[in-house]
Symmetry: C2
Subunit: 153 residues, 2 copies
């Protein structure tokens, strides 16, 4: 079967998928983000098998997205926390939340809300341009080849 590895493609999307593209990984990240960082809690809250959880956690730690730290010496106990690299991945999660809220909303409405410290209001994320700060989406850009080219027909 030999699943194709995305890690060495000349594409940032593929390389990002290589890190968190496996099933469960984004959900693990979500839980760590909200403070569920211990093995058993993750396993129970997700309903994931312990085997897969072990694999995913190891991969995420090896890829510097999570760090495993000991919070008790005796008995030895560990928990997982976001690194800086992992924290920035949360941007991705927030955009997923936004899309999921808009397009897969059940009758019940969004399961979580964000209160923005800067303004104190309940808001959601929007994409803006890093240069001019105005909204930016795929219909308002040209896609140009960069230094490390990609995408062939």
């Amino acid at each position: 079967m030999q699943r194709t590895r995305f890690g060495d493609m000349a594409c940032s999307i593929a390389r990002t998928l290589d890190v968190i593209g496996e099933p469960w990984s984004p959900l693990i990240l979500r839980n760590v983000m909200v403070g569920i960082g211990r093995f058993d809690h993750l396993q129970q809250s997700l309903g994931i098998s312990r085997k897969v959880l072990t694999e995913r956690l190891r991969w995420l730690v090896d890829n510097d997205v999570l760090e495993r730290r000991q919070y008790s010496e005796r008995p030895p106990r560990y928990e997982y926390a976001l690194t800086v690299k992992g924290t920035e991945l949360c941007d991705l999660l927030m955009v997923m939340v936004r899309w999921g809220d808009r397009w897969t909303a059940g009758e019940a409405g969004p399961p979580v809300l964000y209160r923005h410290h800067a303004c104190g209001e309940i808001g959601h994320v929007e994409l803006h341009c890093s240069v001019c700060d105005r909204p930016m989406d795929v219909t308002g850009i040209d896609i140009l080849p960069g230094p490390g080219a990609a995408i062939t027909t």
Copy 2:
């Protein structure tokens, strides 16, 4: 094997993953986004197996992310294009690109660049608050339960 379905979880991330969480789906979307919309072109440019490509395309069409449209009557020829729902998924891709550029950049630098029509400059996406328009990330928000609750310890 019985892979756990994410579609009916009370979590927008899980539901989003249910739509585009399978391996290859985001890359298919990326290619359709840049204008590669025909079966063979997708297959060749991705190196994906034809079977998997068929499955993914059907899933994405069924989920209203792509539409399959006939561009030739005889012989019957089809291409795939983004729906509105799919176009909004591109936000997700752009955020993935941003993270991949920052954290998995090879020596070569980013494979693609975005020129923002509104300002004419090369920029990248940033997350801003929909209410106050200022930058917003996971460290600057409180996460509150919404109408459709989620995440248990």
